[in-house]
Symmetry: C2
Subunit: 671 residues, 2 copies
């Protein structure tokens, strides 16, 4: 055993059940950490950074933010967000560190969102991606030096994912060489941008561009929102925040309306399309060039989904090792709830999911980099393929992660309902991802459109892109009946058979409807359920195989290898049983074999059980990042629940003021 | 068309899409209302009561409570809860009205929970159920007259559903004729009771009773928590609230510890078991007698689940009729999102679920009353059967309702994430029900235990109880292959086949494990997944058939009858496809027939589409009860979102104080 395992990272009082779990683990969790960080050096750097950043006493809260009013929450968020800026200045900031600070570390400090996030994540990148060199120099310079704080205003009250429908207008006035921004309707008000409410003083605003009374579609403009000194809204700017939400209550999401607001011509971002002084509109060479950032964000969301689920399942697994409940055998001590098969079934597939999403995200990240490199060389060929896989990955991973967080939260019983478990906040953040950056159902339909096109093309002899070549493999099997067995090869092929089977059915139904004389668009709408179904099945085949491949590629100790294989197989079997109808319809799996799969899955749960705590320890989320009374490394669950309760301002007084004000007059005491 | 339909309940400005929806509806929604209220007279009374209650200006909020701090939320909740008490006094209060006021109406006023609820819902009923006549007279009298405010303290930090494990002790001191209540461990602290934190001054406390150093298991005691005049905690009472939660943040859930707190012997509730003056313990004639209240609460929870889902789906359906998005056909106006098949699939099965749960709850309510009547006569025969069906109903209905609320919330896109949609609060209330009053997985296992016992008994010739007679029907089919067709008879039988098939598999696996030498308890644990699965399948067969029977029994207009039949069939087909693997394995449904079911389901969605708004209008939730910017009767969605945002205290100032305090020092303005 390495020191790392036995010293418990310097912690003293550890719950005895957790000590025993760690002693019984067949491997040193640091091995998992190194695999996930990809390099022991990175682990060391990350831990150093975490210590330096998170142990800063200035981040301490006087009162935990969940007890504050909405306004106070915002003000406290601004205080902390400014401190994060200062920490960035204090350190030797490479861009990698920036994203780390703004990501995992920042969210440990600002657990319900940061009102400055879009400044770095959207405002600066959009100017870099869509501004001319001159514009980049000027605006990114100002933004980077914190002379201004920006946000990104695209979504409106009336339009989200369907951005062509945006209503805000930007009319070019040739005489004054200015754009006039206007909000012609209530629904054209910008709605949702983070930091827009009270925080930012500039924004990239997406609006319908008009020159010479002709509309050229949506384009980005830089607009000053508030006075740089006084922070008062500029003339014609109607601005505020949109109110409280299910989660993300420190992000200061805002609304924004324009009453004929004038900005100089130079404020349109003109790297791609341009408006000349005389009002001539020059179109961008390709409309696909703006796709890049969108793809990038979706890859990031898959990673975020994995990370949120990873935290949730760490919390729930540790809690399940500490929590003892009920009676398995009369007279014996109450078992750890981690020993219940039903509990294992709630936790372990979600542990496996974390590894799966990380593996798939790595693969997608590589593909994104390859395609981007090709793009720079003018080659747009693989962009639609990247788009199709990124769309369904974003949809499936955010949705699975959100459901997984709720499953493991409820697996913690009542205590999972407490804010101080951090599970409710994690769910709030994760479920939001199902809607933003492309609503999940819309994204699945976009993937489906690509799948249908490829399938129809291949039928008439067209080439299939690499991620879809399996369609031909499965089709070429033809009517030869293969025998399903329990090998991973057989299982992986089964997922592909299901994907192809669902795709074929969807195409058949779609074409049948069209052949019956139903217009193409209506036939598409009528086939929605089959179409989203085949996009999901395609994604699951992809996820299962990327997970499997990533495990086979690794060369850790044999103990760790066998754990990873257990998880990879568990993940596959879990989804076979979840989608059993599809497998019985479309794969060579037979009804009589289902019992074997069920049995194998139960055996895997039992095999993973002794290593469960070790595996989540290997995720290496420090207590400050987990931020949970139930999930801390030391397992002092009940003590922490109590300590957290004692922070409630209601508990600072023996008698609350409402007693004498409202209750006493009501009570008819005889005393 | 009746007046009721065309006058839009006195509302003037109605969204034109909603007007058209209502004009196109094939029936008058009041017909649905009468069916659900069971009697037009009840509808009238309910509406009158709603008006009288909800239009009271004293319930108006100065600031919507979501903007308040946790402490302010509590104080505002106490203010309103006291007003509700006053309203109760003002009216001619029959018990029926009480429960209405404390239920639907109260929750419209106190949308995130009422700190006084347990006074009426648990404190008084427990004393009535478990106190002697003398105790009832004394304590219920005092409680009813509001001389005292009570709560019910059972759950502890360390124990929830497994109540035998509670650790609080009550030792009888024969000399002083007193009980000494004590919290021997941290985990023995009471944790969760509503109103316990700062509100109640008395509680029924459940503790392990000891007389003469012998433990007799858990018993209820009345304990004074706070001084009736000063409201200060009594000596030895350690009390406070537990902190913020995912939802229910006005319920004032509390903790409670005892440091050798003495109460008179008379404070033990002694209707069933007794402790005599000399410390002699007299056992209750039957331990099953205390089951009654538990069953009652579970029936109520099923009704509550239906009601919460009903509100959510009303909100989402109306919003989907108003929201226009994307482009189905080039050049045409954006369609209502209600026209998308994928959207219909998210909404309509949940509309159907509301009717289904109501029908099943009515049936269960009748059974509960019958069994309770038998109990009074000393007949305990049907109690286990009632228990088994109530357990799985509570588990399945609360779980389905919570998932349904999230599905329809996300179907509202980003706006469903806003607190002012009321969907997040509804989810917070509903998901809590999955955990309290018996954690859902534990309850499913309890039903499974009964099913296994009945099945094994029947195999050796035993009688089956009425709700399980279908096991024999299915078994008697034997190997005769029946042909699946699309009739409801065939479908209902399919659900039963699945239930029996899953039960048989579970029993086989269980017995195989035992035959392999695995101890019974371990075999049970290892079979958890099959066991919860068969309990769920049993419940689904029950739900589908009760829904179908209830529709067939009704005699509304032919239009309404056909709508109800569509919903009942949709519900059944939805669950066949959700559980397709089970149907292909265990029912006579064949793989080749799945396409027909899919097609039929899609047709049903299309048939329900024109009546969707009419159906949810028929639920007759008034705007005050729905409490949603997205779901109001007039469909003024965007205006209301804006109005709600304008109430945020952050929007009351042009510049927030955090700008000069934190941001300005950070900005490096050149100006």
């Amino acid at each position: 055993m390495s020191n790392n395992k036995t010293e418990y990272r310097g912690k003293k009082t550890i719950n005895p059940d957790l000590i025993r779990e760690r002693e019984n683990c067949t491997f040193d969790p640091i091995q998992i950490t190194y695999i996930l960080d990809e390099d022991p050096k990175k682990t060391e750097e990350r831990r150093k950074m975490e210590d330096w950043f998170l142990k800063d006493p200035r981040f301490q809260e006087v009162i935990p933010s969940e007890y504050l009013s909405h306004k106070e929450k915002y003000e406290e968020a601004v205080r902390k967000a400014c401190l994060i800026f200062k920490k960035l200045e204090e350190m030797d900031a490479a861009f990698d560190s920036y994203s780390q600070v703004l990501g995992q570390l920042g969210s440990a400090v600002l657990k319900d969102g940061n009102p400055f996030t879009l400044h770095y994540v959207m405002f600066i990148p959009t100017i870099l991606g869509q501004g001319t060199l001159q514009q980049q120099a000027h605006w990114v310079g100002r933004a980077w030096n914190k002379e201004i704080i920006g946000t990104y205003a695209q979504t409106e009250l009336g339009h989200g994912t369907f951005i062509r429908g945006l209503e805000t207008t930007a009319h070019y006035d040739e005489k004054k060489k200015e754009f006039v921004l206007n909000s012609p309707t209530l629904t054209s008000y910008k709605w949702w941008p983070g930091g827009l409410g009270q925080t930012a003083n500039y924004a990239v605003v997406v609006a319908q561009l008009y020159t010479k009374n002709e509309c050229h579609g949506i384009h980005p403009f830089i607009v000053q929102l508030r006075h740089e000194k006084t922070h008062k809204p500029m003339p014609g700017i109607k601005i505020g925040e949109i109110g409280t939400k299910l989660g993300m209550n420190s992000t200061n999401n805002g609304y924004l309306g324009f009453d004929h607001v004038r900005i100089p011509r130079e404020n349109m971002l003109m790297k791609n399309s341009k408006v000349l002084e005389d009002g001539t509109y020059v179109k961008a060479p390709s409309s696909k060039l703006t796709y890049g950032t969108m793809m990038f964000v979706r890859v990031v969301l898959v990673k975020d989904a994995a990370s949120m689920l990873g935290k949730a399942v760490t919390i729930a697994t540790r809690y399940s090792a500490v929590r003892r409940q009920s009676e398995l055998k009369p007279g014996e001590p109450e078992p750890q709830i981690l020993d219940y098969r039903a509990q294992q079934f709630k936790l372990f597939p979600n542990i496996a999911t974390v590894f799966c999403f990380r593996a798939a995200a790595s693969w997608l990240w590589q593909m994104y980099n390859n395609v981007t490199a090709e793009l720079e060389g003018g080659d747009l060929d693989r962009l639609p393929e990247l788009h199709s896989i990124a769309c369904c990955m974003k949809a499936v991973c955010t949705s699975d992660a959100a459901k997984g967080i709720e499953t493991v939260r409820m697996a913690c019983g009542g205590h999972g309902y407490m804010t101080c478990s951090n599970l409710p906040l994690l769910y709030g953040l994760c479920t939001a991802m199902c809607t933003y950056e492309g609503e999940n159902t819309v994204l699945l339909l976009q993937t489906a459109r690509y799948l249908v096109k490829q399938f129809q093309g291949a039928r008439s002899g067209g080439k299939l892109t690499p991620t879809l070549e399996y369609i031909r493999t499965v089709e070429n099997q033809g009517t030869t009946v293969r025998r399903w067995d329990q090998t991973m090869e057989s299982i992986l092929l089964g997922f592909k058979e299901v994907s192809v089977g669902k795709l074929k059915t969807a195409v058949e139904n779609l074409e049948k409807r069209q052949n019956d004389g139903i217009p193409q668009e209506d036939a598409w709408n009528m086939s929605h359920l089959e179409l989203t179904g085949c996009a999901e099945a395609h994604c699951r085949a992809f996820l299962v195989s990327k997970f499997y491949e990533s495990v086979e590629k690794l060369n850790p100790s044999s103990e760790v290898k066998s754990v990873l294989r257990q998880l990879s197989e568990l993940y596959a079997l879990y989804w076979i049983l979840e989608k059993l109808g599809d497998f019985l319809r479309f794969s060579s799996l037979e009804s009589s074999q289902v019992g074997t799969i069920q049995k194998r899955l139960e055996d895997l749960l039992a095999q993973i059980r002794p290593n469960a705590v070790g595996i989540v320890d290997g995720f290496d989320y420090c207590d400050e990042v987990l931020n949970s009374a139930l999930g801390s490394y030391d397992g002092r669950v009940y003590e922490r629940l109590f300590e957290e309760a004692s922070k409630s301002p209601l508990n600072k007084q023996q008698v609350n003021g409402s007693f004498s004000k409202y209750v006493k007059p009501l009570l008819k005491s005889k005393m």
